[in-house]
């Protein structure tokens, strides 16, 4: 949902001072806007005034026929600066940040108008923004909060699927980080300002940046784009569950669901953290030092006992896979084709993944079904490895026997030669 909003978001910045776009300020979709604003501003010496004209050629609005006057008003058909920028003709010059949502929303909230640029373009960005922490702050007169141009830029606005765009998936973290990475600024809002630094340690950030996996979550995937707000206690599992469906389903089956709700503990975050979501491992399960169950359970209670059972079942399954893998690898290194055994190991690995999912139910019986499947698969692979080892022994024995026969034959020939030449 948030991703699709982002994709359409650049068009939010298409704004007009008037509810219905005036003829001449908004052209036909797909037709690059031509007007006196860019022609004149491009030739100005003041770089601050020149920059918007230079950025116009890449701007999605400009490329779709929306001229500068679409947001700034005035008369773009006149070559006379005084006429073109006459306040009487609706010229507003610089748009104050408090006015931005309404200005952009004049087009982007207008479903009938936006249909010109594509079917089903979302038009709820402004209304979502009004409900966001940013929008609420703006309504209270806070001018430090993010408005449309804070993320999308004012000029040279690019579609969200353009890798150069500040709201492109892999760049969102830097864009949000411009404010949320500023500790001094964030302290005023009761935030630590280290959220971005934490997120950069996460598996999500690693997937996004090193694997170039654009489906990996970044800030807006959990917090929303325009309706940005922190997920509440109730909604954390919904947010994570958008991608981690199985884990969420399993968690809903667990006794933790009600217990966490009773003590107002956020579901996934309690064990996995929020921004710095790191790679989980089986060692987390337990009540010992650095183990996650220990935050609520202690040695001797039912929870600790259950954690112990889950932990040993997983450790047994992991150990079985590791031991069999080593055996299969050794046979492969000895020249045996071990593809069938590898398929069995793959099955075991998949069953282990399912077993790990069952941790979220904290029910040993459910996990055991999967760890037993791991056992069956590794037993199959072990059997194949044993057959391969027997074959290797047979081959080596065969080789030594044949080498012996060959050497004996060589010796016999040498003796024969000696006898002949004596």
């Amino acid at each position: 949902m948030s991703r699709s909003l982002l994709l359409a978001a650049p068009l939010l910045v298409v704004a007009s001072a008037i509810a219905a776009p005036r003829p001449g300020t908004v052209g036909a979709p797909g037709k690059t806007a031509q007007d006196s604003c860019t022609a004149c501003h491009a030739g100005l010496d003041d770089r601050r005034l020149q920059a918007p004209a230079q950025a116009a050629s890449d701007d999605i609005h400009h490329r779709q026929g929306v001229s500068c006057a679409g947001c700034h008003g005035g008369d773009p058909t006149s070559g006379d600066a005084a006429v073109a920028m006459d306040p009487a003709r609706g010229f507003v010059g610089r748009i104050e940040s408090g006015q931005e949502p309404a200005r952009c929303g004049s087009c982007h909230s207008d479903a009938a108008f936006m249909t010109r640029y594509g079917a089903n373009i979302p038009t709820d960005q402004e209304s979502q923004y009004r409900t966001s922490r940013h929008g609420q702050g703006l309504a209270k007169g806070d001018r430090n909060v993010a408005t449309c141009s804070s993320c999308h830029g004012a000029h040279g606005v690019l579609p969200a699927n353009d890798p150069r765009s500040a709201v492109y998936a892999s760049r969102v973290v830097d864009t949000c980080g411009r404010c949320h990475g500023n500790v001094a600024l964030m302290t005023g809002y009761g935030l630590k300002g280290d959220e971005l630094a934490q997120y950069r340690q996460s598996v999500h950030y690693a997937a996004l940046t090193t694997k170039n996996d654009l489906s990996a979550p970044t800030c807006n995937d959990c917090h929303g784009s325009h309706g940005a707000a922190p997920p509440g206690i109730e909604s954390v599992s919904n947010v994570c569950g958008t991608c981690h469906l199985t884990q969420r389903e399993r968690f809903d089956l667990s006794p933790h669901k009600d217990a966490f709700a009773a003590i107002e503990q956020p579901a996934c975050e309690a064990c996995h953290g929020n921004h710095a979501v790191i790679e989980p491992n089986d060692g987390w399960i337990g009540v010992g030092e650095g183990q996650v169950c220990g935050s609520c359970h202690s040695v001797g209670d039912a929870g600790a006992e259950a954690a112990g059972g889950l932990s040993s079942a997983l450790a047994g399954a992991s150990h079985a896979i590791l031991a069999t893998s080593r055996r299969v690898d050794a046979a492969r290194r000895a020249g045996m084709l071990m593809e069938e055994a590898e398929v069995r190991l793959e099955e075991a690995q998949q069953a282990l993944v399912l077993a790990r999912n069952e941790i979220h139910t904290v029910t040993l019986a459910r996990m055991s079904e999967q760890t037993q499947a791991v056992g069956r698969a590794t037993a199959g692979a072990d059997q194949l490895a044993a057959a391969a080892e027997a074959e290797i022994r047979f081959r080596r024995t065969g080789l030594f026997v044949s080498l012996g026969v060959i050497l004996l034959a060589m010796l016999a020939l040498a003796l024969k030669i000696r006898a002949l030449e004596r």
């Binding site: 081959r395 060959i406 030669i417 002949l420």
Partner: protein, 360 residues
């Protein structure tokens, strides 16, 4: 026994085989410090015989299509009784055969055995080695695995550098613009029909010439050869040959059992080439030299220049019995002896350095 004698007499009446037997029985092999070189040709022949036998066995199961080649080799090494051994022996023996052939050729060259009257023996021998390398190149592709696929792509690409005819040659070799199933079928045909036919003819001639002319005695060892009594070809030399062959067989068995030839992953024409693609070891010296050459040398493409240089060197090597003026008197010149050592040093050092990863 009586029947065998009758049959022999009947055969002799019609074909005069007694003469051949007489030749074998009376043939003598000179003895001197470098007599060991006389066993290298026989060892090459032994590995060639192993290739024929194992090759025929592989033919019973191998299927030469892009869809089935890899799977059929996989079937051979996993399901066919002793298929793993046959395939591994075929691959190892191919390499040992080339190694033995190189050793044979260099010993012949450095001991000056190419001089008159053995020019034809030299030419047929060099040609057979060239055919052996052709066997290696065409056979390498047949398992249709990742490495062989990309190595063949690089190898066949070399011919496209030939001026004027390059593209035509490339298409002829590949059976199209790219290495595909058509290339595989073509290489299979070349490997199991064309090359064996030509090799059989040339090898037959080579062996006949060797028997007809007898063993060459290096000029430096003539006195020693005169002093020492020669060996009878049959049975003394033949028995020694058999010992060497058994040694070759022992090495082959050990290599095949301890280092089974890997099959790798099936070729995927759409995948990107894996890192470190290299041809078979006997092409490495050429491969690395061509890689070292700059892109352009005095306006000519570096690779083209390198290939031209190798072609000229190959031609000189082949024509050495004519170029070596000392050859007419039956003694090779010091200049060509030095050239032989340089060629050997170059091939050995470049191959070794490539194995050590110096060029990477």
């Amino acid at each position: 026994m009586k029947l065998a004698t009758k049959a022999w007499r009947a055969l002799d009446e019609r074909l005069g085989v007694q003469g051949v037997l007489e030749l074998a029985l009376h043939k003598e092999v000179p003895r001197h410090r470098h007599s060991w070189a006389y066993y290298l040709g026989g060892l090459t022949l032994f590995f060639f015989a192993v290739q024929i036998v194992t090759g025929i066995l592989l033919l019973l199961y191998y299927r030469p299509t892009a869809e089935a080649a890899f799977e059929s080799v996989q079937f051979i090494v996993t399901r066919v009784p002793f298929g793993w051994l046959v395939r591994s022996v075929h691959s190892w023996s191919a390499n040992l055969m080339i190694l033995a052939a190189f050793a044979h050729m260099f010993s012949v060259y450095l001991l000056g055995a190419y001089v008159k009257p053995r020019e034809l023996t030299w030419w047929t021998g060099v040609a057979v080695l060239g055919l052996g390398m052709g066997f290696g190149f065409s056979g390498y592709l047949l398992p249709w695995n990742e490495l062989s696929f990309f190595a063949t792509r690089v190898g066949t690409d070399m011919v496209s550098k030939v001026p004027l005819l390059g593209h035509w040659l490339l298409r002829l070799l590949r059976g199209g613009e790219e290495v595909t199933g058509a290339t595989l079928t073509r290489f299979f045909g070349i490997h199991v029909a064309v090359l064996p036919m030509i090799t059989a003819a040339l090898l037959g001639l080579h062996l006949t010439l060797v028997q007809r002319q007898g063993m060459h005695v290096p000029s430096s060892r003539e006195a020693e050869a005169r002093r020492r009594p020669p060996l009878k070809f049959f049975p003394n030399f033949a028995l020694r040959d058999a010992v060497v062959w058994l040694g070759g067989l022992a090495v082959l068995a050990a290599l095949a059992a301890f280092f089974p030839w890997e099959l790798g992953a099936k070729a995927d024409p759409f995948a990107s080439a894996p890192a470190g693609i290299k041809p078979e070891w006997y092409f490495l010296f050429m491969f690395e030299t061509l890689k070292l050459l700059p892109a352009h040398v005095v306006g000519i493409e570096g690779e083209l220049l390198g290939l031209a240089a190798f072609s000229v060197a190959g031609a000189v090597w082949f024509l050495v019995p004519l170029l070596d003026r000392g050859g007419a008197s039956g003694r090779h010149s010091r200049f060509f002896l030095l050239l032989g050592w340089i060629a050997l040093g170059f091939i050995v050092s470049f191959t070794a350095l490539s194995f050590l990863g110096v060029f990477e």
